[in-house]
Symmetry: C2
Subunit: 363 residues, 2 copies
């Protein structure tokens, strides 16, 4: 999707891909297959690149520092990206700059988890490995010290957090360029199913204007204070008592911004590319009253063709974005966007299409 | 731009390209460099393709017939495409199905041109080689038999046409799929400078609703009667006495439809891909009150980067589409789209950006 967004500017990508089957490798013309965890591979790859950016945050921080030392611009840079890689570093930084987060601290063992619980409202407590979590992986919700053994088995530091009493999850997406220009997308509501993003509504319905502004300001502050270049997604909890707390950070175009491909004047991918190249940013405002994104998860049909026929015929305004991935049950293989003036209708159309493509809706 | 539109559907293109520098070859991953006039090259290329389509109409008709005989689906097929390749065949067919055209006939020599002039309103007369014309090439406007020698030198049949007294040029863009579904984009106004499309306004301002409907119906009729699959652009004259006459046909996404990339619910490229794959077509309606496309012609700057900075900073809503072509004076190297509610503003923004990128506007 970043390649797609770069084509109109005449931007040519060189892609470092794990396998030739990766989504991006199917559509980018200049592909190097290699391991992003290997510094020599990264150095070979970086030769001849004007600037390097990412579609995930897993490249080791120290390798990115080495590339920077070699003189290769890395955007976002390692000193920013580490906050999306390490939840411990992220929480410490957000505390330091006064951004509200769930109560948290690094814990050393199950007994320490019990102590953390006792310091606050008690169990349940959320435990997260500080590195490597994704879509609910590396996250545990525990009701007792006895249940807290698992997270410590990996030998990675573990962060304990209060289980926030939230009414819903929001996301504030912003983009920042090297010389400090920044734009904020409207705050969206993000609905998760089994820890995986399912539906995003832009803008978040019935969100108090002051709260929305506060969320945008928080995201812009984080982008500035962390020195982010490119897209920053700030996942938020809206608490029952009316506060906004930061859940997670992502420094790349993010699932909570996919709606912008069809719903905003400038998509998150286009603005990410513009930021990484230090071009002036595009207008992030919505083009429709409501835009809804629903993820398409893999279902029982390996072949989507007949599902395409039905979905496209049923809704000529439907926007389908498939990633060219092999269909495996539960795997994110694409998303659909719908937009319009009537939220119920827009939601129904997106849900129907995503369900039909997955195979859970058959008519 | 067709590749860009195919990515969201997971469509992979294999490209036959004249050179590795061609615009599409810069962004498509599977590129074969070869000569589209060579049947063996075409046959080798076609192996493994599910369907073949085009971004120009110059592949020899007989080669396309050979591919079809080999069992390769070619869309649009040669029997349709010949009408966009040969203006003599096109005029004869449009006459046969009752579509109004400028007065015309094939002429054999300058004396015959004088006879053609005498049969109607006299000189000037427009002469066109029946094959190979493009952007004003292969077209002459002559004021006398003496001036009419040039077109006959190529040894290709020459078509004479009355010089139509038109108030403006319009274009009706439609897309048709193999099983006969068709959609019509709003009729646009197309402004030419030196025989080259300069500005397109969607929809055509102040166009009588009945005339607009008539133009759409004409284009749908042509698509059906000629068996077009994919995008069909019908270039039209709006005459001073209120008629609509067909000027040219193009069977591929067309310059007069570039506005749809940012201005329509479904772009011409997306609908072309959908039609060629026999998928249900997308909604062709506009997303904005007015959309304006202005072509970017090559100017004196070979490097567009600093021009990008200025244009993007001046107008964060501007949509730039560059083709990755080497900049040569007068060459189409890209286009810009703008949209909004105020036509004067939308026009000014598009013209300013295109002029600035070309270098004819410097502030």
């Amino acid at each position: 999707m970043t390649h797609e967004a770069g084509i109109p500017f005449g931007i040519r990508f060189k892609l470092l891909s794990d396998t030739p089957q990766d989504s991006a490798a199917q559509v980018v013309s200049d592909v190097v297959v290699g391991d992003y965890r290997d510094l020599d591979t990264l150095r070979d790859f970086a030769r001849g690149c004007d600037v390097i950016t990412f579609d995930h945050e897993h490249v080791p921080t120290e390798h990115l520092r080495a590339l920077e030392a070699d003189g290769v611009p890395v955007r976002p840079g390692p000193d920013a990206l580490v906050h999306a890689q390490d939840k411990g570093v992220m929480r410490a930084k957000l505390d330091a700059i006064g951004i509200p987060c769930p109560r948290h601290r690094i814990v050393s063992d199950p007994a320490d988890v019990a102590a953390f619980a006792a310091e606050g409202e008690g169990f349940p407590v959320v435990l997260k490995t500080v590195r490597g979590g994704y879509d609910g992986k590396g996250v545990w919700v525990v009701d007792s010290a006895e249940e807290a053994a698992e997270p410590f088995k990996a030998g990675v530091p573990v962060l304990a957090e209060e289980k926030v009493d939230f009414v819903r999850e929001l996301a504030a997406n912003v983009v920042r360029s090297p010389h400090g220009q920044a734009v904020a997308y409207p705050v969206v509501e993000s609905r998760q199913v089994n820890g995986v993003c399912d539906t995003v509504i832009a803008p978040a319905p019935d969100l108090d204007e002051e709260l929305a502004l506060k969320a945008e300001e928080m995201a812009l502050t984080i982008a500035k204070e962390l020195g982010v270049v490119g897209h920053l997604a700030v996942e938020l909890f809206q608490t029952r008592d009316g506060r906004i707390l930061v859940n997670e950070l992502a420094m790349r175009p993010h699932n909570s911004g996919h709606w912008s491909m069809d719903g905003a004047i400038t998509s998150q991918f286009a603005n990410h590319v513009r930021a990484v190249l230090d071009l002036p940013l595009g207008d992030p405002r919505p083009r429709a009253t409501w835009t809804v994104m629903v993820n398409v998860l893999g279902g029982d049909y390996p072949d989507m063709y007949s599902a395409y026929l039905h979905c496209m015929a049923r809704d000529p305004q439907l926007k389908i974005h498939m990633y060219g991935k092999d269909v495996k049950p539960g795997r994110k293989v694409g998303h659909v966007n719908t937009y319009g003036d009537d939220l119920d209708d827009v939601l129904e159309r997106a849900r129907h299409a995503a369900g039909y493509l997955r195979g859970t809706i058959t008519e």
